[in-house]
Symmetry: C2
Subunit: 131 residues, 2 copies
């Protein structure tokens, strides 16, 4: 078993709950995502939530998994509250019926390269980048 | 096959490169992480990088995977530059020798619940939370 490694210059980030999933066929993704968004909106302990669908990687590399869901919590205590939250348990019961396979990883995140602070200048240029 | 789902009120975020790994036994994690940090520091296209080691989840849920690595890019173009970058290819060649299993997912991230802006107040309280 590996031990926890802490390197110099790293910033301990928040606690992350990462879920990667292969859904069953003919699953209504719109419904699942709406339920998930509802749960996230209702549980204050979830600090941020983002997700994505891999449409490009080689099947060999993603091994059937198609979706990643990443929740961020301020700390492990908030994550524990989330785990026991009735809205989460209700969602999980439904979610477990639509997945073909799943991997969960829960960890304190180490932020090695923090994103740069948004510059105060050039706000119009940044807006033009968006479509 | 599922189609891309776009929901109301979502913010299209950056492009993410997510890697989850089970390492071979007796691998020197310190060395791997140092190599990874070096690569990340040398490639400007990587906007941010964080990683974590799951020390708690049930084995049934994490299925042998222990580490998650998450890189964020401004957009898919930057990610493509990273893929072809000599420093990345050099790192990947070494990395592939230490992993027992791996899943990669690459996707444009949809940010459903953006993190709250850091308040300007209470900086001392935040510092006290850190250990």
């Amino acid at each position: 078993m590996g031990s926890t490694v802490e390197l110099e210059n790293n910033i301990m980030g928040e606690f992350k709950h990462l879920v990667i999933v292969k859904f069953k066929e003919n699953v209504l993704m719109e419904e699942i995502l709406k339920d998930m968004e509802k749960m996230v909106a209702e549980i204050d302990d979830i600090k941020s939530f983002e997700w994505g669908q891999d449409l490009e990687s080689l099947e060999m590399l993603r091994q059937g998994f198609t979706h990643a869901f990443l929740m961020t919590f301020k700390n492990k205590e908030d994550y524990s509250v989330f785990l026991g939250h009735p809205k989460h348990q209700e969602f999980s019961a439904t979610f477990s019926t639509v997945i073909e396979k799943i991997v969960l990883l829960d960890f304190p995140a180490t932020l090695v390269k923090p994103p740069p602070k948004a510059p105060a200048e050039e706000p119009s240029a940044a807006q033009n980048d968006q479509k």
